[in-house]
Symmetry: C2
Subunit: 419 residues, 2 copies
């Protein structure tokens, strides 16, 4: 099945919002066996929308649209679909009842404009929207399917997951694409590429190597009739990848490094505490983005002012001797975090987030220490980019160092890892 996506709304063409709806839908089509050839953003303009719809009906089987289903004059999607299919709209009594009920339950008078949202055409049925007033449309005529969905992401996601995707799955003419992603750290992109060797020549599944903020990703994707046949193609390749990368492979698909480290800590019954300077609390915030982090995260200190470091266990003479931006101070911060906050593992971070250099050290310089009573890891880095980029890179590196220390505590050798 060939599809096009049409995102509707003048705000897209003014660059006021980024069209995340289109990529949301696009990312979900391969698993349904649907090929996507075009995505468009068009403003709230009848003629231009009609032109795009007419063209899409000629060359594609399926049009997926978002936006333009509200109650105002600007909301033209229903009218465009009706005209593109050559049909007249009329009010559907059942939809009108539901709409009046929606407002009634909230003790609100329904503005008469909202009646637009109860319109239908003979070829369309409505798609329920439990989280908003705009029902979607599922229209089908002469072999084409048009699905009109609302623009607010929360409403779109709900409608897609519960109504649209299951229906499209039924119609899929076979042939789906299933992918798995494996996340690797401690080896360079070139190194990963080389280690994949002849796997990269495989046509089905295909094997690709990508550099990402949380490490190197190896993505394998199989085309098959169904999930089971895809799994049969993917399983042996996955086994080879797991074997090749062993402990350098830490996660799959949507797994984050902070969730992975959280799981390692939980499994080992270990706790964590932080003392941050240049990252300003971003490490603690990232760790606590993970549900359940309270079982292993004791707490953190953001010691932005130098005397706050001294007041919380970092020897002022050490700071005096080596400077705030030094490996020695990072180590003292990690130890202070561990002892002051009563954790098994302490992390210390000191560096220069910018925009100006500090103590003669250039912007992007960082010292990170991860400290456990029986083992300590120190890392020195120099990162490019702006203040917020630098903070994010330091946090990613630090989580990687925590994983490394945890593996070494298990007796796994990581000294030849790079980062």
């Amino acid at each position: 099945m060939k599809a096009e996506i049409v995102s509707i709304g003048t705000e897209l063409l003014l660059g006021e919002i980024v069209d995340t709806n289109a990529s949301y839908i696009a990312s979900r089509l391969p698993a349904l066996g649907i090929d996507l050839y075009y995505m468009h953003q068009v403003g709230d303009n009848l003629d231009r929308l009609l032109e795009v719809y007419h063209r899409a009906l000629e060359r594609s089987d399926l049009i997926l649209s978002t936006g333009g289903l509200g109650p105002t004059e600007d909301d033209l999607t229903r009218e465009v679909v009706a005209r593109a299919l050559g049909e007249e709209m009329s009010i559907d009594p059942q939809l009108e009842r539901e709409l009046r009920q929606f407002f009634g339950q909230r003790a609100l008078n329904m503005p008469e404009n909202n009646l637009k949202q109860a319109m239908l055409i003979p070829s369309a049925r409505s798609i329920p929207n439990p989280v908003g007033t705009a029902p979607g449309w599922w229209a089908e005529k002469d072999g084409n399917i048009i699905v009109a969905m609302p623009g607010p992401p929360r409403e779109l996601h709900q409608m897609w997951e519960n109504q649209v995707a299951p229906e499209l799955r039924k119609r899929s003419d076979g042939g789906i694409l299933v992918s798995r992603t494996f996340k690797i750290t401690g080896i360079s992109e070139g190194g990963v590429d080389e280690m994949c060797g002849d796997l990269k020549k495989s046509a089905n599944p295909t094997v690709g190597v990508y550099a990402k903020p949380d490490g190197i990703h190896v993505r394998i994707a199989a085309k098959a009739r169904d999930e089971q046949k895809a799994a049969a193609l993917l399983d042996p390749v996955e086994a080879r990848i797991r074997d090749t990368f062993a402990n350098n492979l830490w996660g799959t698909d949507d797994e984050t490094m902070q969730a992975h480290v959280g799981k390692l800590l939980t499994d080992r019954g270990l706790t964590l505490a932080t003392m941050e300077s240049c990252t300003g609390g971003l490490l603690a915030s990232t760790i606590t983005d993970v549900p359940g982090s309270s079982t292993y995260f004791r707490g953190g200190l953001v010691t932005y002012a130098t005397d706050v470091k001294a007041a919380h266990g970092v020897d002022p003479q050490l700071i005096e001797k080596h400077g705030v931006i030094s490996e020695e101070v990072a180590a003292a911060m990690a130890l202070a975090a561990r002892t002051e906050l009563g954790a098994d593992i302490g992390i210390g971070i000191t560096g220069v987030a910018g925009p100006s250099e500090q103590e003669g050290k250039p912007v992007g310089t960082v010292f990170v220490t991860v400290d456990h009573k029986s083992k300590r890891h120190s890392h020195t880095g120099k990162y490019p980019g702006g203040r917020i980029d630098i903070k994010n890179r330091i946090v990613a590196t630090t989580l990687f160092q925590v994983r490394r220390l945890l593996l070494e505590l298990d007796g796994i050798e990581t000294s030849n890892w790079r980062r």
Copy 2:
């Protein structure tokens, strides 16, 4: 001038990346007096790209594309433009010299594939790319302009700002759109709308009201021949808006609440410290996203475990009596932050980020206190959404409460503000 944007790359159609390039360009066209009617994303496929280019050449004056300028077989933009304009490509000797120089300076052998990047057609000149190997193309024929720019955002932004935008500004047939945004808190969206009154009927400048995560935005946009004439239209409306919203108006355009609060603190010579529980360090991290925040931010404590709160100045009996998730504990945390970290203003945050309720309080419940020796503000909230949404909303609310306290210290009345 009528424009279309074409973003080129199969990864866009797989939903692997969101097309931020298109919205980057789109947001910059109104100020150049260019009308944008369509945006498209198309894969690395010659036929489909040609179809989009042919159609765009018929109905638009200007095609702005990003992507597809690399050295690989998948990179088809040059070939598509050549075919769409009916011309033959050949290697430009000057471009070839520059390309070989680029590699030579890095002591690298140039792969022969890269010669593609030295191609031109008679109607096109190259656009220099000082930060990458792919020069852009500026092609002009029969009244149409085609501008091909690279896909990596850093290369695109540089080329747009320094080469493409200035050239388009010269060609602009007059009539630019200049907008200003005013950011308001403490008044509901409906209230702001009502207070704008007859301003909303104005045709030039237009006045729009939008609800955003950092408050309500009033955006005014004027069409005029040049910047000076636009300013003459905007200035009196800006004066009325500033007069109407007085102290509820806190910022303009790209200003953030954390930068604004930082400026207020700097102007008053006051310092800040935080004690966070459910936000896990996100408040401290947001405050320290602002360059120069070290002058007013002393530091923060992330007291995730209850005994860590007790060890840092929160009375355990108070926690026992009222529960960790309580107004009393938020107030004690704010006071402890202020005294433990030696700041003029302390902030305490305790709440339930989820996914499970805590002490019988539902997910999204939060208590925030902002404490100064002569004044204290407490805020109780209940926010919807997932864990990360809730953390972000609490941080936005807290920064707003800090601003409010600072204004009250100046004798400005804010008791009738809502949030």
